[in-house]
């Protein structure tokens, strides 16, 4: 959806499930479905409906709840429509009526004349507002795409990266075979939600959960391994960069160093894993995932190991003092 306008039609088209479902349907102003929504904010147009148009946030989605609907009914029964006419002189993206309270015929006619879409939903206005905010925040979140495979290993989202042909897909396949899950192959779309969470998913639903394996061609992971082997999205928590074994490069041998990669301003820990025939990469990735979980629990294998060594050396030298005395006696 890069560089593409997000329109009211796109909002209606969103495939949202369960607690995200908006249950929207269009009840009027269809000609305006191409209107653009250009921000994640919503507006309750109470003030505008009562005639106060200063700082009216017309560029936002307008959400009408019970109060606004009742007021509109009252004004319609009094035969007054000045505010309604004025509100439609603004290029409002769309009106959403919550609680299944359809607007008065006069309001609907005015919307039709102004080509402004009217949407209706069963949800209460508060629930609608919070769901809309959540959905729009994801849509308007900063995003990027990464070349690699995103897999979930022991609950940790791992992005396998590296040059073409280094064996990312093969590693992922072995991980899936071992019971881990594929999120996306090759093109991973990453969105930064809530400021510091990187959510990775496949770029395209149609080709989602397919993989290209050299020599086999394109395979459907869902059909081959079952739905247990896939998931739609997962937070990117670790990057494993596979690279050809380079004899001149110094690889981390202890693991106390921490390399990070910057994705959309969020730092993600990165491991550089050298690939050489005979090295079992999937088991290394599995171990990295488990080690990452330990770190999240506050246990750093390498650091702890080193502290134990330091403690041991200290006690050894302390013992040496006594041994030294014993010898002198």
């Amino acid at each position: 959806m890069d560089d593409k306008r997000f329109t009211v039609l796109d909002l209606l088209d969103l495939d949202l499930k369960e607690h995200d479902a908006l249950d929207l349907r269009c009840i009027g102003g269809r000609k305006g479905l191409g209107r653009e929504i250009n921000g994640p904010d919503i507006n309750r147009p109470g003030l505008a409906l009562s005639g106060f148009f200063e700082s009216f946030a017309f560029q936002r989605i307008q959400l009408i709840g019970r109060g606004e609907a009742a007021y509109l009914r009252l004004r319609a029964s009094e035969g007054k429509s000045a505010e309604v006419d004025k509100i439609f002189s603004y290029p409002v993206p769309c009106f959403i009526f919550a609680n299944s309270e359809a607007p008065e015929p006069a309001f609907a006619a005015a919307a039709e004349a102004a080509d402004c879409p009217l949407l209706l939903s069963d949800l209460s206005s508060t629930e609608m507002a919070s769901r809309l905010m959540r959905v729009l925040a994801t849509i308007f979140a900063p995003k990027t795409s990464a070349h690699g495979v995103l897999v979930e290993v022991y609950g940790i989202g791992i992005l396998l990266t590296g040059d073409s042909g280094v064996g990312k897909s093969e590693t992922a396949l072995e991980l899936i075979e071992r019971g881990h899950r594929l999120v996306a192959d090759d093109v991973v779309e990453i969105r930064c939600v809530s400021g510091n969470i990187l959510m990775g998913s496949g770029a395209n639903k149609v080709i989602g959960h397919h993989m290209e394996i050299r020599g086999l061609g394109i395979i459907n992971v869902t059909h081959l391994f079952g739905v247990g082997a896939i998931r739609d999205k997962k937070q990117v928590q670790l990057i494993c960069k596979l690279e050809e074994w380079d004899a001149t490069k110094v690889y981390d041998r202890i693991g106390t160093e921490e390399n990070t990669d910057d994705i959309l301003g969020v730092k993600v820990p990165r491991l550089d894993i050298p690939v050489k025939p005979g090295r079992n990469i999937p088991i290394i990735v599995e171990t990295a995932a488990m080690n990452e979980r330990l770190k999240k629990m506050g246990y750093y294998s390498a650091r702890e190991f080193n502290q134990n060594i330091l403690r041991w050396l200290e006690s050894e030298s302390a013992r040496a003092v006594y041994f030294g005395r014993n010898e002198s006696i």
Binding site: S145, I207, E212, I218
Partner: protein, 88 residues
């Protein structure tokens, strides 16, 4: 770095077969090769990436090559677009 802008001329757009042709051609060169559609840029050496672009008939595609054999690489990939991937 070499950039060539081209348009997809075969009716079916870039489906699996054309994507495979691009990947095979791109794979012969050492340069890093990318295709760009709108704001999306993907690696031309990855089949799934190219298919993900969802590039249909008359879509504008920018071919970007970067490396020692960049001119040849970009030209070779562009030739595929010009010859309509041997389709139609």
């Amino acid at each position: 770095m070499v950039e060539i802008t081209t348009v997809i001329k075969n009716r079916a757009g870039i489906h699996a077969r054309p994507a495979a042709m691009i990947v095979q051609t791109a794979g012969k060169f050492k340069s890093r090769i990318f295709l760009e559609k709108g704001g999306d840029r993907i690696n031309a050496k990855s089949i799934m990436g190219i298919i993900t672009l969802g590039a249909g008939y008359e879509t504008q595609i920018k071919i970007i090559a970067d490396g020692e054999d960049e001119a040849d690489a970009a030209a070779a990939v562009e030739r595929l677009f010009q010859t309509r991937f041997e389709e139609d």
